[in-house]
């Protein structure tokens, strides 16, 4: 059943979305090469100073940093929001379920395929950027300056930290994914579900204490706020404070919204 759902989603729009992400990374590479390749770039809130031409690992770090708070949540919202609502809008939901397919199994297949595409989007960004980085700088160690501390990560260590960071961002998309997927099960308009996921992302940005100090009390519960903590892995020694509680928060969002999605979808009337 997952294969059936996957074959519905391997469509032009999916490739356009993934292609746009890849294109953004390539454009970012070109822009950095043209403007400041030899200059140290501050990345994240630490700030971490990285020189783009110094190592192939700089580009993936910058690419992930510039996509993790909007473009990646947008892609994830599209894949999760389209999942069930798209089927409802095509008018095919009643025929799929009318064949006696279990609603739970149907929902699980839809979630699995949307999650697979979301993870592909997250993995694509560092993969393309790393390829561009290797082409530009070769296979080099990563020098990073954090404040006054200068660290040099050998390629294997840099690659491992990049992989952990990518996995962390992937896990950090869970909240947005679960919310958009839940909306997808209650509306027949995919755009509403996609907009819901994007809206939650924006809300998370707006209520950030960097902009509004008064809402600092909310910040540990915002779905997308701490998705940047993986950058602290490139400090020496690596800082992991807050990462675990962020992952627990993601699991809570997933539990609540995927649970709600299942609860409502297995009970609701299909009138689309």
């Amino acid at each position: 059943m997952i294969r059936v759902e996957l074959s519905k989603q391997l469509r032009p729009r999916t490739f356009v979305a993934l292609g746009a992400l890849a294109l953004f990374v390539v454009a970012l590479t070109v822009a950095l090469e043209l403007t400041g390749a030899g200059r140290a770039e501050p990345v994240g809130d630490i700030p971490l100073l990285l020189v783009p031409t110094s190592s192939p690992f700089v580009l993936p770090i910058i690419a992930l940093t510039s996509t993790m708070k909007f473009f990646l949540p947008l892609a994830v919202s599209v894949f999760a929001g389209e999942a069930v609502a798209g089927e409802a809008r095509w008018g095919s939901l009643r025929y799929v379920l009318g064949r006696g397919v279990s609603r739970s199994r149907f929902l699980a297949s839809k979630a699995a395929v949307a999650a697979l595409l979301s993870l592909a989007a997250v993995a694509l960004v560092p993969a393309v950027a790393l390829a561009a980085g290797v082409a530009a700088a070769g296979w080099q160690a990563l020098p990073a300056v954090d404040g006054t501390v200068r660290a040099v990560f050998p390629p294997a260590a840099a690659l491992a930290r990049l992989a952990i960071g990518t996995a962390y961002i992937g896990a950090g998309m869970t909240s947005i994914f679960a919310f958009a997927f839940f909306l997808s099960t209650v509306t027949a308009r995919p755009l509403v579900a996609v907009a819901g996921g994007v809206g939650l992302t924006i809300l998370s940005r707006v209520l950030n204490y960097d902009y509004l100090p008064g809402v600092a009390v909310l910040s540990p519960y915002l779905p997308n706020n701490d998705v940047d903590l993986w950058l602290h892995l490139f400090q020496q020694p690596a800082q992991t404070a807050g990462m675990l509680s962020f992952l627990v928060l993601q699991a809570c969002y997933a539990g609540v919204f995927l649970g709600l999605a299942w609860w409502s979808f297995t009970r609701r009337d299909v009138l689309s």
Partner: protein, 246 residues
Amino acid sequence: MADEQAAIRVEGLVKRFPRGVTAVAGLDLAVERGQVVGLTGPNGCGKSVTLRVLLGLVRPTAGRAFLFGEPARPGARVLGRVGALVDGPGFVPHLSGLENLRLAWRLTGRPLAEAGLDSALEVAGLGEAIDRHYRTYSHGMRYRLGLAQALLGTPDLLLLDEPTTGLDPAHIREVRSAIGGVAARGGTVLLSSHLLAEVEEVCTHAAFMREGRLVAAGSVAELTGQADSLEAAYLALSPSPLAGEG
């Protein structure tokens, strides 16, 4: 034994929607195996909702519905014996007609050889267009693909909602011959239609619904009775004298 059971049995079916709309208000209906039954009534009398209850898409507020003796509910195995075309066709727009039919069949988990894909394609009659994207199809082509999808796997029961709406005369004849084909091999058909002439021509039995209830049911001959036609008999059961009946 389940196979001895009526193809459809509906007992005291009530469906009220959250905003207070009562779509079905205590419907009792039985369709025996091998019958071709025309379900007729004004717009909003609950025909489509009844078909959706049978398909496990809508949960009844009260009452029960059975297909071949098994409760009609979401995920019911018995739905594998049912083909349906309800509220128009619905397919994945960026896949071809053929890919859509294959995907629809794969959901059943049964081997492709049992799908009877060739005879379904014959009903669709789309020729070369079967390999074009569904979104490029005209209204009539979409409808025929929907009918072909309903006929996949030679179902024991066919549920059709307004099956000839918007089709040209040649295709209306094909739809009728498809219905006749299901009946000829002992299958059962429940179709909703506004067109009493169509019901009279295609169906062995008819059921009249109004405001969510059954008003009259029986063989076409019984219902027509002394009237000139089924339509005349239906109109004779005009709303006012029947308003109080259930």
